[in-house]
Amino acid sequence: MSNEHTVKSYEEELQFLKDSLIKMGSLTESQLGDAMDAVIKVDKDSIDKIIKSDEEINKFRSKIDTQIMNLLVKRAPMAIDLRETISSLKISQDLERIGDLSKSNAKKVKPLPLDLPDELLGNLKRLGELVMKQLNDVLDSYVNKNFDKAKEVWKKDEQVDDLTYIAMESVIDFLSKDKKNLDFSTHLIFATKNLERAGDHITNIAETVCYLVKGEYLKGSRPKGKVIQE
């Protein structure tokens, strides 16, 4: 028995949707990395490029929306095809939000002084690297339809929460030493929080991948790390 649809164009449309999502994912990944680098290196020259790449991500989102609408209208997908279609819709929304958060982080670079101390940025860098790894792993789990890997990402968000807490503490420490630091420290606090939020979107994607693969939502609540009071 063949795994291909009897209608070839249906097969192609589904493949096209998956390809678009993978491209959108890799664009989001680069943008998140670039924005992170820009903050750590206080690289003000890359801000415009990062903002521009967010437009690309948004375009992908609308393109994917259109593809999904067409699939729903033309094919009335069922079972795995339905889950694939609906999951693409949800994942593209989360990727777009991660893109917005990266853009927001890029914008925070502008007011930062060029001589930020290493101990201030060290924890933020570690957080950024973890979030990057999480995004990479979750996209990998999507491409390979790997339930276990997606669940691993979902569980690991606890570490993102913990690192966010630590990174926040170091910024607050720095801030409390000298009130003059208040202005740009606030931006760093927001940048840290943005990474934590990106982490939450990544766990959403992980949940969606689990649903896509097994057709069931993950049971129980996700392990949570230290939480910053909002």
């Binding site: 028995m1 063949s2 649809h5 009335a76 069922m78 079972a79 795995i80």
Partner: protein, 253 residues
């Protein structure tokens, strides 16, 4: 979950040397709609024809195994088939009203089953059946006209009214909408939703979307075997069997 109305155990059907059903075990719940899907020739119609012993009319047909309704063995040789068919009505793919008036189409069944002895009783049965099949408002002023003068969708609802006129417990529908336009189909589907409050319904359909819309339980047949049966939502979102998935997603057929 509702009580089991019909239970088949290791049901086999043969047409001469050819086996059409293989050990089918399928429970149909009372006052629920069960949809049977599968490619042509997979045995779904053969299965529903076992429920009202329609296969009896085919000489070379042999049925083995068990099929029970409320614990009564449907295959029992001594069973009164006429009384069985009074309890199990059937609606076919193409509307097939009798070449008689709308009124007579409906009163015929009750008359031969000895129901509705007086004219006013029959009038009441005709009116109730037409109301239940959502046709009354459209035909109440022309009950004397031939049933065949109605539109396709109306004729199918007339056939449903005819089936329910003898007050059955089960209604079998073999692709009841395949000859109808979308509006007439929608009316039948709306009607099925209403009828399931009173009757146990089994519908054979080639439309996946229809199976999802009207049924609570779905069974997938392939080459005479019941491959998978379960909650309709589950079957169409996340079936357990790969063959079911391949069929409903259009990967073979």
């Amino acid at each position: 979950m509702n009580n089991i109305k019909i239970k088949s155990k290791n049901l086999n059907v043969y047409y001469g040397d050819k086996q059409a059903l293989f050990d089918v075990n399928l429970d149909l719940n009372e006052k629920e709609v069960t949809a049977l899907i599968g490619p042509s020739g997979c045995g779904k119609s053969t299965f529903i024809r076992c429920i009202n012993r329609m296969n009896d009319v085919i000489d070379i047909c042999k049925v083995t195994g068990n099929i029970e309704m409320d614990g009564m063995n449907i295959n029992d040789k001594d069973l009164d088939v006429v009384s069985l068919r009074e309890r199990v009505g059937m609606v076919f793919q193409k509307p097939n009203p009798f070449p008689k008036s709308i009124y007579d189409n409906i009163s015929y069944g009750p008359k031969i089953h000895g129901k509705g002895e007086t004219k006013s009783e029959l009038d009441q049965i005709v009116e109730n059946s037409l109301k239940k099949s959502a046709l009354w408002e459209e035909v109440k002023d022309r009950l004397d006209e031939p049933g065949t003068s109605l539109s396709g969708g109306q004729q199918q609802r007339l056939c449903i009214a005819r089936a329910i006129s003898v007050n059955p417990q089960v209604i079998l529908m073999d692709e009841p909408c395949s000859a109808l336009d979308p509006i007439a189909t929608a009316k039948i589907e709306e009607l099925i939703d209403e009828l399931k409050k009173t009757y146990t319904i089994v519908i054979v359909t080639h439309s996946m979307a229809q199976a999802v819309r009207v049924s609570q339980k779905t069974g997938f047949f392939h080459l005479g075997k019941l491959i998978e049966v379960g909650n309709t939502e589950k079957i169409f979102k996340n079936p357990d069997n790969k063959m079911t998935q391949d069929y409903i997603t259009g990967r073979f057929g």
